[in-house]
């Protein structure tokens, strides 16, 4: 059974159909890639699935057997659906440890205080942040460390699924390599991953299934190798043969 099933989801902003009749399923344990040019509706799709900050106009979203469309964002998060944001995001007024403690305690409210602290420390070490810097304010960190911290706050929730919104954006080449390794290790923990990226090579190296969006609609879906060979995908990314010539 699919862990996430999105059926006919739509969202319009005025006359612009940002997401138009999008359907797909994600199986447990896989890394699922979503590609598409800028403005194709990738991030909006994540917003609709997580209810942050808005729910879809129409359509159905089933996560782990629960209908989640229209539920408040924090409730969806507590069901085990975590996300990251495209821009590196942190709680600047809190220390690194407190940042992760938010995910560890509020993302899993049944957890006792001591267990939440252990989970927070473990998540920070997992993403490679050193324990002697746990007391630093998140606002002082570099872009890469903030991205790692954002991932740690999600992992501390022990989610079933993690939606990663362009984890490679504004990173250097070696940082991207580190990120790929980190995403693989996250998947190895048993967390299903849905990954947005407009850099196709990044997606190709990670995902087992690929979905390509264009202007809010599904352009192609399936095995990565088949999808990128698709005429329409090439056209969306590079323009038509005639225009290119």
């Amino acid at each position: 059974m699919a862990l996430l099933a999105v059926e006919g989801v739509c969202k319009a902003f005025g006359s612009l159909k940002a997401v138009d009749e999008v359907s797909f399923t994600v199986a447990p344990g896989e890394i699922f890639g979503i590609a598409g040019p800028n403005g194709s509706g990738k991030s909006t799709l994540f917003n609709l699935i997580t209810g942050i900050p808005f729910a879809p106009d129409r359509g159905r979203i089933v996560f782990d057997g629960d209908d989640i469309q229209g539920k408040p964002g924090h409730a969806i998060a507590r069901l085990g659906l975590a996300r990251t944001f495209q821009r590196e995001t942190s709680f600047d007024g809190l220390t690194m440890f407190e940042n992760v403690l938010i995910g560890a305690s509020y993302g899993k409210p049944d957890r006792a205080a001591a267990a939440a602290r252990d989970a927070a420390a473990e998540a920070l070490e997992f993403v490679g942040l050193e324990s002697r810097s746990f007391g630093r304010l998140a606002g002082e960190l570099s872009v890469f460390d903030r991205k790692c911290l954002m991932l740690a706050t999600a992992i501390a929730m022990e989610p079933k699924m993690l939606l990663l919104d362009e984890p490679a954006s504004s990173l250097t080449r070696p940082e991207i390599e580190t990120s790929i390794g980190l995403i693989r290790r996250t998947a190895a923990r048993g967390i299903t991953i849905v990954l947005i990226e407009h850099v196709l090579t990044f997606l190709m190296s990670l995902s087992q299934h690929l979905l390509v969006l264009n202007q809010g609609r599904v352009l192609a879906a399936g095995e990565p190798a088949t999808v990128i060979a698709d005429e329409r995908v090439i056209e969306a990314y590079l323009g038509t043969r005639r225009a290119a010539a």
């Binding site: 998060a77 942190s90 709680f91 690194m96 305690s105 993302g107 205080a113 746990f134 304010l137 706050t153």
Partner: protein
């Protein structure tokens, strides 16, 4: 190789609670000694007023500084405490001490009600609604003049008592003690709250609302907790003020009082609780010391506030930290 059994103790990067407790007790001891130095009842009156301001300002720091919620109806919560105490003791004949606590509860309920319309709002729209709430409360009090005394206010409100101690002819030592105790309880409450994980979630919502929600923090619940928690001791402070002054008037809803308390919150440095307490003392004592300057007083005060904020954008707390750091550096330096 990572040791998974390794525990992270305390709050890394934060002052340990033991150290903070020591500092708190020392500060409290100094304040408790003040009546030995200031033996006249007028000086003690100034200190009592500073304690009341400190309670109102530090509770405002919880919603404004930590929560980033622009609650410009905070002084209305104080006013609700004033009138709740006046009406409960005078009309309902309630025991003053019970009424003091009940007034805090009434202010808390009012804060919960005002939370509902601002849940979906941000920034200046929250200012608009909370300011409107303060005006609404004032208009209700004016319009219900049969019970509230309208613009005339309420006089001869029953005061507090301590066993058979004479509260009137004691050089205000009785009220001084109560005011200091309430300020201590309020400050402990606020500091324990902001150091807890609830406090962390309040800051998380301030720093990035969507991100906090995505980590399981409920905006509705935490925002309600923030405003309700900031209201209780504000209402108690209002009740104490009514008991101490023995009268209530709608002046407490005016802009001038709100401006004074807001300048205490900002001058002290937001998001510290202690900053608002310190600034309340500095501004209250300063205003008294400059009594001879008459009409120049508010202008000199304003210029000084601007100067402090220009040099130390994080307020008096930032100034103290800088001074402390400089001193520490000098002491550590080898000779």
């Amino acid at each position: 190789m990572t040791d998974m059994n390794k525990r992270v103790s305390g709050a890394p990067g934060r002052t340990s609670w033991q150290r903070e407790a020591v500092g708190f007790v020392l500060g409290l001891a100094v304040l408790a000694m003040l009546p030995l130095v200031f033996t006249d009842s007028y000086s003690r009156h100034i200190l009592i007023m500073a304690f009341i301001y400190a309670m109102v300002a530090s509770n405002w720091d919880l919603s404004l500084g930590y929560g980033g919620v622009f609650n410009f109806g905070h002084l209305a919560l104080f006013g609700i405490g004033v009138y709740a105490y006046a009406l409960l003791t005078k009309l309902a004949g309630m025991d003053p001490w019970v009424a003091l606590v009940a007034s805090g509860v009434v202010a808390t309920l009012a804060a919960v009600i005002v939370t509902i319309p601002i849940l979906r709002l941000k920034g200046i729209y929250i200012i608009l609604v909370t300011f409107g709430f303060a005006q609404l409360v004032m208009q209700i009090i004016i319009s219900q003049s049969d019970i509230t005394g309208g613009t005339q206010g309420i006089v001869r409100i029953p005061g507090l008592y301590i066993f058979d101690h004479n509260m009137v002819r004691d050089g205000k030592i009785g009220y001084f003690g109560i005011a200091l105790t309430l300020l201590a309880l309020s400050t402990i409450f606020l500091r324990v709250l902001v150091r807890s994980r609830i406090g962390a979630s309040i800051v998380a919502l301030r720093d990035n609302e969507e991100y906090a929600i995505s980590r399981g923090v409920s905006l509705v619940r935490q925002r309600m907790i923030t405003l309700a928690a900031s209201a209780f001791f504000t209402g108690v402070a209002g009740a104490f003020y009514a008991a101490y002054q023995r009268n209530a008037s709608i002046d407490v809803f005016g802009m001038s009082l709100a401006t004074i308390v807001l300048s205490m919150v900002l001058l002290g440095g937001t998001g510290t609780i202690y900053g608002a307490v310190i600034a309340s003392f500095v501004l209250t004592v300063f205003a008294e010391a400059m009594a001879d300057f008459g009409a120049w007083r508010p202008m000199i005060t304003a210029v000084l506030i601007i100067l402090v904020m220009l040099v130390y954008p994080s307020g008096l707390v930032g100034m103290i930290q800088a001074a402390w750091g400089g001193l520490g550096g000098r002491l550590r330096r080898p000779t």
